[in-house]
């Protein structure tokens, strides 16, 4: 059961990468994550938002939509959506070290998102891309209760 939800919309400017990861991490802090779990969430969001900026809107500025949901079983679901050009070959894009970006890109974005989360889904067509990740936050003895 979803216990809390937030949405945010911002422009695909690289200056917003930090803002996006800190906002989602701040929302996720209601699940009382460890510092490592919080860092995982920041990293996932940073990779997803960078993909939108570099690949979805390569020659323009568009909007990036993030929705985050907290669930009673101490998981967070984060969806990062764009209305960009889409990914022609998702399987290839998810391969480690594959990139169509410049030399300052490593091609490791999807690999990092996948290994830092518990589940990742990518949906893409010519109208845009949605990346959804699910991250379980460990229950801690003496930790805060969500409900």
């Amino acid at each position: 059961m979803c216990t809390n939800e937030m949405t945010m919309t911002f422009l695909s400017k690289s200056a917003n990468e930090g803002f996006a990861r800190y906002t989602v991490a701040s929302f996720a802090s209601q699940l009382d994550p460890t510092l490592d779990e919080l860092n995982d969430i920041k990293t996932i969001v940073s990779e997803a938002v960078t993909n939108c900026i570099v690949h979805a809107y390569p020659d323009s500025v568009g909007k990036i939509y993030i929705k985050a949901k907290l669930f009673q079983n101490n998981t967070i679901e984060i969806s990062v959506r764009d209305k960009g050009c889409g990914i022609p070959d998702i399987d290839r894009a998810r391969e480690p070290m594959f990139t169509t970006g410049d030399s300052e890109r490593s091609g490791m974005g999807f690999t990092i998102m996948e290994s830092f989360s518990d589940k990742m889904r990518v949906k893409s067509n010519s109208k845009g891309t949605t990346v959804t990740v699910i991250k379980r936050i460990s229950m801690r003895v003496g930790g805060r209760s969500l409900v």
């Binding site: 690289s14 930090g18 860092n39 990779e47 960078t50 070290m97 030399s103 490593s106």
Partner: protein, 104 residues
């Protein structure tokens, strides 16, 4: 993002401070390339102690620097990598390629 370089007889030490993401990576990569171009060192240490955040842009920065140093047979070491950054570098197998030590 702040980059500070110091050189002693044999080693050029480059310290990174702040957050390394796509927003800061391009400037950081070219700044490091410029330092290497001027100093032409034989040994370089990237000190990541001051990095409060690093995503996969850090992998690109490390590989870029490593390839440039390989061009003239110089050696690279990465030191004091914070836990989060180490996890990112490890996902790309960087510690198997370049000597890398964690921050303790």
């Amino acid at each position: 993002m702040r980059i500070i370089s110091t050189k002693d007889a044999n080693v050029l030490s480059i310290s990174l401070e702040g957050e390394l993401d796509h927003h800061s990576a391009k400037g950081a990569i070219s700044q490091i390339a410029n330092i290497i171009e001027i100093e032409l060192p034989l040994n370089v240490t990237l000190n990541l102690k001051g990095l409060s955040f690093m995503d996969s842009s850090g992998i690109a920065l490390v590989l870029h620097t490593w390839r440039r140093l390989n061009d003239f047979s110089a050696k690279l070491k990465i030191e004091n990598v914070p836990t989060q950054g180490y996890k990112v570098l490890n996902a790309a197998g960087i510690p198997r390629l370049i000597p890398t030590t964690r921050l303790h």
